[in-house]
């Protein structure tokens, strides 16, 4: 979706402000939100792409004003409601009021903690070999789905070069909407800054994105 989350190349947000000696969490609730998100992913309640789409779907004014973990909380709540794991009446009441579906991997328990503190693997086998090779010139598609995609706006219609082939992975555009993993080849595609930002751009800058095979055509 063309949401406010897709901010590569936007102007006006000002300088990067660094907080010295930043703690992992600024409030206790932030850690609880992070842990709930990880746990509900590990027990099969939701996947990372659903979470991302829920956060992207936060209305732009709210998205920009919310802190990072406020966005995570809003996204978690929306995903749980959308998946019918939690009801709006339960959110209002602050407790469980009815029976909810069992999760694919059951309750998240102590034995699962080590697993979630290492990043999961999204590599999946696909039947066909990659259609592109390193060095190929490709043009990113001009797609504007209202659904989840990981093809940022700033590279759409731009011509880049395949630099790496990174295996075949779960396709977020499908998994975010519960349409299955539909694995696709993943590539690093690199662009000169001038291809993206025009002739005034710094000639020493190159930018790459991680792009799934359906995101581009041969140039």
């Amino acid at each position: 979706m063309n949401g406010v989350h897709d901010m590569g190349g936007m102007d006006g947000f000002g300088k990067v402000e660094v907080e010295a000696n930043e703690p992992p969490f600024h409030h206790k609730w932030e850690g609880r939100v992070m842990a709930m998100v990880r746990a509900m992913g590990a027990n099969g309640g939701l996947n990372i792409d659903m979470q991302r789409f829920s956060r992207e779907s936060i209305p732009p004014a709210t998205y920009l004003a919310a802190s990072y973990y406020q966005k995570w909380f809003l996204g978690l709540k929306k995903t749980l409601l959308d998946r019918k794991l939690v009801g709006a009446d339960e959110i209002a009441a602050g407790r469980s009021l009815h029976k909810s579906p069992a999760l694919p991997r059951g309750k998240f328990e102590m034995k699962d903690v080590v697993r979630v503190t290492t990043r999961g693997s999204f590599q999946r086998d696909v039947a066909s070999p990659p259609a592109f090779k390193i060095g190929d010139k490709v043009r990113m598609k001009n797609i504007n789905p209202p659904t989840h995609t990981r093809l940022p706006r700033y590279v759409r219609s731009k011509v880049g070069t395949i630099e790496r082939i990174n295996g075949s992975h779960v396709y977020p555009d499908s998994a975010a909407h519960g349409h299955g993993e539909d694995p696709q080849w993943l590539y690093t595609v690199v662009f000169p800054a001038r291809e993206i930002w025009g002739d005034d751009a710094d000639p020493t800058v190159k930018i790459s994105v991680e792009a799934f095979e359906p995101y581009f055509d041969r140039a």
């Binding site: 660094v18 907080e19 703690p23 842990a35 991302r52 290492t118 710094d202 790459s208």
Partner: protein, 205 residues
């Protein structure tokens, strides 16, 4: 818990709003617990892991080893997950990118906040915030100057936008004057930002 004193320090300006967040988050946790979806003690353990066990020191050790062990450095650049996996747990699809006199690497996630947690811990707020996410791909030299970093005009700047489940760790250049240092001494100068590409290793002595 020890967070309470800390929490109080940060909350005084926005007390009512943040109390509201605490209540809403607690209510959701109660619901998930009552449904049998999560064990709160296991949530405590996740929080504790990120507060105490996983942070930039993990990545710094890897960088220091790569600086002192050419075979490990080669393996790291070939397949970082595999090379680091021989030393301990690491996620898949980690890619190490090497800074050289000719090329400086910088990592961003313009769409959200993708970051190599197991190497660097939780991302800092600036990494997840709009100024960095918007400008890193359009004006990386300007962003570097926000961090007090100025590179030669002809150094190539390579920005890696983490738009998938691959993760990037920058292997910074080993600073001059560190010849003969132990891995431990070297790891101490490898800053978090130097592994994101917004900083350089810091030699103070």
């Amino acid at each position: 818990m020890s967070d309470h004193a800390h929490e109080h320090d940060h909350d005084h300006d926005h007390g009512s709003e943040l109390s509201e967040m605490q209540l809403r988050v607690r209510a959701l946790e109660t619901i998930l617990t009552e449904k049998g979806y999560v064990d709160p003690a296991a949530l405590d353990a996740i929080v504790e892991t990120y507060e105490t066990k996983i942070g930039p020191r993990n990545g710094a050790k890897i960088v220091a080893k790569a600086w002192t062990d050419p075979a490990f450095k080669k393996a790291l650049l070939d397949d970082a997950s595999k090379a680091i996996g021989t030393l301990g747990r690491v996620g898949d699809h980690l890619i190490a990118v090497e800074n050289t006199p000719e090329r400086h690497n910088m990592v961003v996630c313009t769409l959200c906040s993708c970051y190599p947690w197991e190497m660097l811990g939780l991302p800092p707020i600036w990494y997840k915030a709009s100024p960095y996410r918007s400008r890193a791909v359009k004006d990386p030299r300007g962003v570097l100057s926000d961090f007090g970093v100025t590179l030669p005009k002809d150094t190539e700047i390579r920005v890696w936008d983490s738009t998938a489940e691959t993760r990037f760790l920058v292997l910074p250049m080993r600073p001059p004057g560190t010849e003969g240092w132990s891995e431990e001494q070297l790891a101490a100068i490898v800053t978090r930002d130097s592994m994101i590409g917004t900083g350089l290793p810091r030699v103070t002595s």
